[in-house]
Amino acid sequence: MSAMSSSNWDRRSVLRAAAGLAALGPLAACGGNNGRGGGSGSGENLVQYFHAYGEAGTEQAVKRYAKAYDKANVTTQWITGSDFESKLFASLLTKNAPDLFEFHPQIQLVKSGQVADLSDIVEPVKDDFNPADIASHTVDGKIYGVRMIDDPQFFFYRPSLLEKAGVEVPTTLDELIEAAAKLTTGKVKGLFLGNDLHAVINPMIWSAGADTLDDQNRIAYHTEGVKEGLKKMRKLFTSGDLLLDAPADYWDPSAIDQGLCAIQFCGMWAMPQMQKALGDDIGVFPFPKVTDGGKPSVYNGGWSMFVNAKGKNVDLAKEYVKWLWIDQKKYQEDWSLSYGFHIPPRSSLAAGATKLKSGLPAEGVNLFNEYGHFDNIGWTQSMITALEDVFADCVRKDGDPEAALDKADTTVNRELKKLFG
């Protein structure tokens, strides 16, 4: 112990110690990279997260808007890969969390205090928004997100192929299954619902006359109609008429563009690409009714901007959101119409969106208005995953629908109890 007495602090051992500390340097440096860029001297920094949109030019557009903002230096992280949710959720817990991000309204973000109340910036223009888009972002009278775009999802089909096979546009799930069989030839599969089918879960539930949750936030998907739907989906999955394991998933128009399938489930965003590839040979229809009591349905998805309530500069982030997604109508219009097609949530913009006024886009808007179901803010990610597991267990696997739904009930009820008590 006494070996470390001060008389031994000669020059050499001090140098050694210094060298040792220098060796620790790189460890400390690990914490240095926080993705905030160098900072250009003046002004403050904001970081925003976007998932990777598939349409060309979208990344440049988001960065162009950010650059035009003069009160802060806004850095965009363009998150590629299929698990945007995971990356977002994980980073929100850390110090390197984004100041603002796009996502879907989910109440656990509100309950855990992760998203800031944006009522003060939305309230003045509330009447200009689609009421459903305000409702889906409201909890206890406060508005937590600004809708940027509405994205209806439905079926796209090739009229020429249907005509050749003598098939009418399906109006029931049974007809869809039949059509898929008739349209399947050696080279073309009848139908593409995505590789894991999860995109059609909600539409199938709605078209079976059920819902995810009822208005008192209780389970509403566990019905006879949904079970019937699951059995029909299983029949479809095993029929050999579905395109499976395609290189690109449902949200990409490649499958129908390349002639791999005759009917594809996709979103309005892909319409310009399909029209470019197939010209006039493209039509749309909603998810057909599953049971006699059901109704056709369309999922009105989309993306909204949220502000990280635990961020370093909440007020500045809010100001940026207000500047871009409330004030800058030019950019909002550009974002909705110049790349993929999205329906602007602002009535004033939607009214002037001539590109959506005629032809196929107008039909898409019609489906959106007539059959659309918006996000339910109480339906959270773990509940979404629970129903994906139901599809995995009894559509892709030969499980019993009742047992699969019971399993989901356990998860969803546990979740509901945590969120609503």
Binding site: A3, N8, A23, F89, L93, L243, S382, E388, K397, K407
Partner: protein, 321 residues
């Protein structure tokens, strides 16, 4: 230089000769040197291993959703939830199936490759490199190639093209778990990626077997081929084989990349690490339940390691020599 001074310090005579600089000096700096050299690693170990383990143990008793600093104590609820969760227990079965497939297969393939390369008269270095090359490929990149090109479900996927020549219908290799073709995709990807590395280990071991043994065996009448292989080569490779199998098991246990990238939105084909990823780090962000699962897994690993030590005697002195 420092070693000579330390040695000098151990001898009493020089120490007595220089009373002004007593033994404390050199010993003191060797203590310092110890901390300087091990310090960074110890700090790393502490920060990246022990603190997370302790933290995770603490988290496992709390309701920790969307936070890693929870305040709601729930006792053993998370453990109950994980043990009742058929996905988690199923993950252990998945791992067992995966290990049962991949360990013997890789062992056999890499040994086979090593034997072949070892017998080559020319271009040995070339083939050695060719088989070793896949080791340099990332699991993610390989998974994507396997998924999108070799085993894609469309008619122009490589495997479906080949099957098409024989008039066999397109197969959905990954989307449809019945029959479980996904095992073929996962196992073949890993086999391609790792066989080359273990081949090198076997090759080194093969080259270490003294040629005299083979000569002696030949003189004693052992036929070349199977008999020599069975009674000379294989026993001589015992130590390497044990090490290879152990490494393969560890690697199989750590499997994540290919499962994560090849199978999406499934309830099957998820080894424990993937399952825990989805519970704790994925969309659910349930750190409490995830940590409980990790603790259960750790206990299981400890148990298996102890049992393995007891039955297989791994770690005891090698009695084969």
């Amino acid at each position: 230089m420092s070693t000579t001074t330390t040695r000098g310090a151990a001898r009493p005579a020089p120490a007595a000769a220089f009373p002004a600089r007593p033994r404390r000096g050199p010993r003191g700096s060797s203590t310092l040197a110890f901390w300087v050299f091990t310090g960074p690693f110890l700090i790393g170990l502490l920060v990246f291993v022990y603190i997370p383990i302790g933290w995770s143990l603490w988290l496992s008793f709390f309701e920790a959703r969307f936070t890693v600093t929870p305040d709601k104590f729930v006792g053993l609820d998370n453990y109950r939830q994980m043990l009742e969760n058929s996905d988690f227990t199923g993950a252990l079965v998945t791992f067992t199936v995966f290990a049962a497939l991949i360990v013997p297969l890789t062992w056999a393939v890499s040994l086979g490759l090593a034997l072949m390369v070892n017998r080559l008269r020319f271009m040995r270095a070339f083939f050695r490199s060719v088989f070793f090359l896949p080791t340099a490929c990332s699991y993610v990149a390989a998974s994507l190639i396997w998924k999108m090109s070799l085993f894609s479900g469309v008619r122009f996927g490589l495997m479906n093209t080949v099957l098409g020549w024989f008039g066999i219908e397109n197969i959905a290799w990954l989307a449809n778990p019945d029959p479980p073709w996904y095992w073929l995709v996962i196992v073949s990807a890993r086999l391609w990626l790792q066989s080359g590395f273990y081949m090198i280990l076997f090759l080194a071991a093969l080259q270490n077997i003294p040629p005299e043994l083979y000569e002696a065996a030949a003189i004693d009448g052992a036929r070349p081929g199977w008999q020599t292989f069975r009674h000379i080569t294989l026993p001589q490779l015992r130590a390497t084989s044990t090490a290879v199998i152990l490494l393969l098991l560890v690697a199989a246990y750590q499997a994540f990349d290919e499962f994560f990238n090849l199978l999406s939105k499934t309830t099957w084909g998820r080894p424990p690490l993937v399952e825990l990823y989805y519970t704790a780090l994925g969309q659910a962000q349930d750190y409490g339940a995830g940590s409980a699962g990790a603790v259960i897994l750790t206990l299981l690993i400890c148990l298996v390691t102890l049992l393995q030590g007891r039955f297989m005697g791994f770690g005891r002195r090698d009695e084969a020599k």
